[in-house]
Amino acid sequence: MERIDIHPTHIHGDFKLRRGKPFPFGATLVPGGVNFSIFSSYATSCILVLFAKHAPQPMAEIPFPEEFRIGNVYCMVVFNLDYENLEYGYRLDGPTNFQEGHWFDNQKILMDPYAKIIGGRDIWGIPPNWDDVYQHRARIAFDDFDWEDDRPLEIPPEDQIIYEMHVRSFTRHPSSGVKEKHEGTFAGIRDKIPYLKELGVNAVELMPIFEFDEFENNRTNPETGEMLLNYWGYSTVGFFAPKAGYAATGRLGMQVDELKALVKELHKNGIEVILDVVFNHTAEGNEYGPTISFRGIDNKTYYMLTPEGYYFNFSGCGNTLNCNNPIVRNMVLDCLRYWAEEYHIDGFRFDLASILGRDPWGFPLANPPLLETLAFDPILAKCKLIAEAWDAGGLYQVGSFPAYGRWAEWNGKYRDAMRKFLKGNGSVGEIAQRLQGSPDLYAWEGREPATSINFITAHDGFTLMDLVSYNWKHNEANGENNNDGSNDNDSWNCGWEGSTEDPGINALRRRQIKNAVAMLMVSQGVPMILMGDEVGRTQYGNNNTYCHDNELNWLDWTLLETNADLFRFFKNCIAFRKAHPVLRNRQHFQNRDYVGSGYADITWHGTQAWNADWSDSSHTLAFMLCGKHAKQGNIVDNYIYVAMNMYWEAHWFEIPGLPEGMKWNVFANTGVTSPEDSWEPGTEPLLENQTGLLLGDRSVVILVGK
């Protein structure tokens, strides 16, 4: 018997129609046709606009009959569409009143906020036709990818080692060695998985991959005249669609398959995928920005508006998404569920996440519904949720982000404290907290060490090589008179601004880089390293390269040879962390012996064993981890001793004694040149003098007791 619910009931021109289903929002394949569903609180009518793929003008415009509106949702099934060659949009009519926040204009064709594929910028960097009546074109996606047995990896958070990377930058450089067609794409990353495996990271955090418009920038490079781009992509056009220009198959409309194939292959290799998601604002910008979607569909619902009708700008990017409006909240939830379910994404890092905790008028909420909803959502239950716990409106919530037992944070205080200590400033008391997973920030609320995403560098700011090569930012190429980018870098150029042939300065810089990663990898919490730091990538002092599609951002793979010692050191440090569960505790230290080993779980030392110098002028600190307390005493690990000398001169460190029969072995000494600076775990040589050692100036030593 034939189903009657798939029979058309209405006709419009050549198109057969039926009332659709309001859920799910977006365009969904149904038997015989496509279900179109879109929400608007204030629209008075809606028209579905259909294009043949790439066609300049619509092939049809189908008004939603009034009886197809359910509440505020227009929904309709259109039968017999050639959905592979289809693009669709909407025209919505309604009030136009700036102060009231209404921007309806039925002359504009609007993109579906739930579009799963978006055309219009199919190939990266190809200038669009600005006269096109429909710039960002919604298309229909399929959900039949062959995942086989793949599922998110669910690596325990404390065991993660995150690699923050930009899709295009990773393989765009001609030295990447991937096929030319794969350069700068998802397929290119897939080709480079063996590199990530060799380095040892087990999670990649992809800078924004939601569809954005790289041409959203009207500046030029004052030095070269080159047109600047929105290269990083922190400006979302569509939250449900992968960036077509990041796919080698984007021109064929197969970006969904290509990205899924990447996720599947990363998972096969034990690497999780975290997406950097930008829900704080959209690419529609301020009052002068383009109308792409939200503004024309339901401006007053989607954006935070001042009483006069202007956009609040807590994002620093022109507008602020109204995330705690119930409708927008549901969209964010739908979006994250979609990526988790459909793309098997393992976690999300939320850009300027503090905005998500503001009410529609911009005030911080004590109990933000969106953050709570995401924390308790059953589909997202195993996904990592990581907040960049501040925003451009001055809300800084590191240590106080509303977490509901679920949210981790980019620990900006870790970054700042470690940078200061590295250059010989700062307080060793604070360093002790940061090395322990920042219990001063998190333990009081019962939040685990893995709440702290530890990083010294990230995409915002200097690379690690630049952190030790520049005292000041050099952002002239950004076309903003060097006014953009942070002025608070806590960097130190080691004696010369920029590149130098001075062997002493270069040796110190290498040592400082190794000091940084050594301390990062022995810190409790989750370490994150920035793409290319492992090979000494430089941005030539530019600390805000958001707009450059060139070697300022591209990873130069020849550095792997030039700086082989750095790569080797990073690799060994990562392997060391993975080999030692005592570095990856789930609970905070208790500063006592609760397993009867005769040693507290963590003990503090200085140039004298058992006697750390906690004074304000101190630049030395050492600590020992008791292996019998690893994972709260559930696993027996080796003992680990870490000594840090950030003085400009060498110091003798007395080493604490080990239990009878155990000896100290040297895993790393940054004061020694490669290859004696670090060893593969398990091959560490015995320390000659078991009672003490001389730490060179600005050096870190890591011993393993076994």
């Binding site: 050639d82 959905y83 592979e84 060659n85 399929f142 039949d144 990818f145 062959d146 086989e148 067609k181 794969h182 794409t185 397929a187 897939r190 796919a247 080698a248 198959t249 064929l252 409309g253 197969m254 398959d257 290509e258 899924k260 194939a261 990447l262 599947k264 292959e265």
Partner: protein, 114 residues
Amino acid sequence: MTFNATLEIIDNIAQISLSGELDASTALIFQEKIGAAAAQDINTLILMMKELEYLSSAGLRMLIFTKQKMGPGVAIYVVSPQEMVMDTLEKTGFHHSVNVIDEYDAAKIASALS
């Protein structure tokens, strides 16, 4: 070029020869052949692609459908895909889901299956 698909079944091996352009407008022709092959007791499906000039998103969907329809008990071989088609298979990762070979050698496939 017009799409064409021909099915031939010998013993437990089904061979479908594809030519022309496999896209949304022609995918159903291929789907019918897949259905016919799946109805037989086969353990191997050979897709001869030497003459296939273009594979669209809908065409790729049909290959995914093929794999799921046949199930894990049927080995699928893609034979002699043209560069453009192979490029698409690689970028979308589908080449990991099937066996891609340059030439069809019945004896070699039989020995691989044994």
